[in-house]
């Protein structure tokens, strides 16, 4: 009987482990494309957490489901179950295992975080580990384009990017692929959040503070930057495109953008507000007026909702 119980438990645990492993692997597919070096690290940690989490969830669920299906009292059975008040060994085991598990998860998360090193030298305190595995594929080489940080200016409700070295301003963030990007985040009014889902990175932009923020794009393409910290009426409209391109294309873009005369960029919040005001006010309540759209060399195409 005892051996049979152990065998059944082992079989169930193996089946659950297999299912959990499969769910953990499919977790990679629940995320946006891996467009930064950081995203690979984050997804690896997430997949691990999904695997462990699925195992625990299924363990509890299967046990409860079995009890609900097979351990119901009969209609006229008014007797009690066995008087079991506890089991010290079992209680020690199920305290020790979760404790070990969360320590493991915490240490693993810590290592992943240390490898990411997304906060710049002003903020980040290195804790004695090999840092920024996600970083600089070609940092320090003559090929690097990221000598001067790109300034990110957030205001209600527009993103503006300035490339001080090249005298370029833009409402579309262009970044060279496979190079460490260094940004200087600034806000002119309220707290905003700099969030690029495809890069798995996020940082609040705080008025009166300059925050250095680093990451490494690795996949060419166009991605969405969103405001992630609620910033008022047109919060949802505060998006911008991020273009990751080859080093050559990036430099070409900088050169051609620098030659363009500055124009007033399209801004969804400002346009919306202007149209509503022309129609004689909104159906809602009075709002903080959107900031004037920025004057930039390059404004890309207005964000389309295709």
């Amino acid at each position: 009987m005892k051996i049979r119980t152990v065998l059944i438990l082992a079989a169930v645990a193996t089946a659950l482990a297999a299912i959990s492993f499969w769910v953990g692997q499919s977790a990679y597919g629940w995320m946006p494309p891996q467009a930064s070096a950081e995203s690979i690290l984050v997804d690896r940690l997430f997949s691990f957490l999904v695997t462990v989490g699925t195992f625990i969830f299924l363990g509890v669920f299967v046990t409860l489901a079995y009890a609900v299906l097979f351990q119901q009292a009969g209609r006229y059975d008014s007797s009690d179950g066995p008087h079991i008040e506890g089991n010290v060994t079992l209680e020690i085991v199920w305290t020790a295992i979760p404790l070990a598990l969360v320590l493991w998860i915490a240490v693993y998360s810590f290592q992943i975080y240390d490898q990411m090193s997304i906060l710049g030298p002003m903020e980040h305190v290195h804790m004695g580990m090999a840092t920024a595995e996600a970083a600089p594929v070609v940092q320090g080489s003559a090929d690097s384009d990221a000598d001067v940080p790109i300034e990110v200016l957030a205001r209600q409700w527009t993103w503006e990017f300035r490339y001080p070295g090249q005298n370029v301003s833009s409402t579309e963030l262009h970044l060279p692929s496979n190079q460490r990007a260094t940004l200087l985040l600034k806000s002119e009014d309220v707290i905003h959040g700099f969030f690029i889902p495809a890069f798995r990175i996020k940082q609040d932009v705080i008025p009166n503070e300059e925050i250095t923020f680093e990451f490494t794009p690795i996949r060419e393409g166009k991605y969405r930057l969103r405001d992630s910290q609620y910033s008022g009426t047109y919060f949802a409209a505060m998006q911008a495109d991020v273009v990751v391109e080859s080093s050559d294309a990036y430099r070409e873009w900088l050169t051609s953008a620098a030659k363009k005369p500055p124009v007033v960029a399209y801004n969804e919040a400002f346009e919306d507000y202007r149209q509503i005001s022309e129609k004689g006010g909104s159906a809602g309540w009075v709002t903080v007026p959107p900031a004037e759209p920025p004057l930039v060399n390059y404004s890309g195409s207005p964000l389309t909702r295709e």
Binding site: Q71, D77, Y113, I201, K202, P207, I211, R224, Y230, P289
Partner: protein, 559 residues
Amino acid sequence: MTNVLVDETSNNLNQPGEPESWRRFFSFSTDHKVIGIQYIVTAFFFFLVGGIFAMVIRGELITPEADLVDRTVYNAMFTLHGTVMLFLWTFPVLSGLANYLVPLMIGARDMAFPRLNAVAFWMVPIFGVVLMGSFLAPGGPSQAGWWAYPPVSLQNPSGALINGQFLWLLAVALSGVSSIMGAVNIVTTIVRMRAPGMTFFKMPIFVWAVMSAQIIQLFGLPALTAGAVMLLFDLSLGTSFFDPLKGGDPILFQHFFWFYSHPAVYVIILPIFGIFSELFPVYARKPLFGYKVVAISSLIIVGLSAVVWVHHMFASGTPGWMRMLFMFSTMLIAVPTGIKVFAWVATIWGGKLRLTSAMLFALGGLIMFVFAGITGIMLAAVPVDIHVNNTYFVVGHFHYVIYGATVMGVYAALYHWFPKMTGRMYNEGLGKLHFVLTFIGANLNFFPMHPLGLEGMPRRVASYDPEFAFWNVIASLGAFLLGISTLPFILNMVGSWIQGEKAPNNPWRAIGIEWLVSSPPSHENFEVLPVVVASPYGYGKSDPLVSNADDLEVAHEHH
């Protein structure tokens, strides 16, 4: 003056029949049972109000464009949805359950400070009216989210002195004062008014959990209330605690806010743990597994809850060392919580289960809580949190906690103690229909939020990119189903209270002092205070819980 009041009240108490009038529910009653029901019914009214706000939110989000309501209206909706659901539904309904049950469970005739109790309750409708009144303020209600982070909360586009944000802060401060009063009362009652023989380790776990939760209120609420008052000064009097344009520090407010508002999650969930711990033994006919460890783990959760708040601020410019510290402390909470989950599973395992409506809600709540716990660990891991922070993943996580575990747990408690509170049995068929609709609705509504968050949809948006439409439609349909699910519940509660079958003292054959007296209990609860001689949850044994069970009933009020 005070003496006169005391005399009048005690005269009223001595008139047989008088406290049984239905009018007592609309009066300044000092009976903890009346106040408990007042809390529960008032809170449920606001639950429906907050639910209507949620319907507007999900109606807006069923399409990508901001097309149903104006953006300012949408922002007011999610601000008030969060505020109402927390301050006017969750906290009051749990106060109501604690008020009703704690004195009965510990064998006391009332709370330690009956009049303070009534004052604390009557502040709820008052700040509820203040908050709802903000719809009439110039510029409309607050649109800063329920966190009210400055500088957004300080912008006040209407320019009026009495604006929506002002009224919001006033309501939150009043709510804080009311909750502090309640906390002082409940903790004092539990410490000082236990019946003879009711040692701490003979208290039911619900009492342990409520005591732990209220201790959190005592150390945490002053921080939030102070933060709210400082923000009010910034908004109305021109001080600059938090306004960066005048040299203030907006992050400081976030610390004040989360120093309370994270522990507040445990104020909410601990009583639900208590409800689970009461219900599973009754409906599985087994003692609670590992009673002492479950009791102590509540206190461990209280201690840890005080040192985790920064995990809400991982993306707020928090330095790396602080991120790591708070990641460790946050993950540690999984240990005492895990102990409880395993204890409940072990309680249920091998028992003789009865799937009443109460038991179904408790089981459904437990499963959804386990899911929420797992996503909670993911959120504690800083690298994952950096990605999903402020996205729908977080919204999904805490709705599994607040709806999945908490609302389901509250429903379980209401069904379980309905016969005790009203003297009537509820209708099981309607109860089970309610469970099915709620369980399906909640999962349809809140599960899709997780993939949405992982894909990068921020919370609080009125419009979103079309790639997010699929899961949003499902979530909205789930939300409408949840709206409908309240109908069989209301029908059941109202109908059964009016014409339900009369309830005996102990319809569930449960072990507990509250089940030894009539349903509903008489005004003074006990003729003679019970003398407790056994531990709670003595299922499978036939030891008496109290030595004087036959003397408890108040003689002149037999039903």
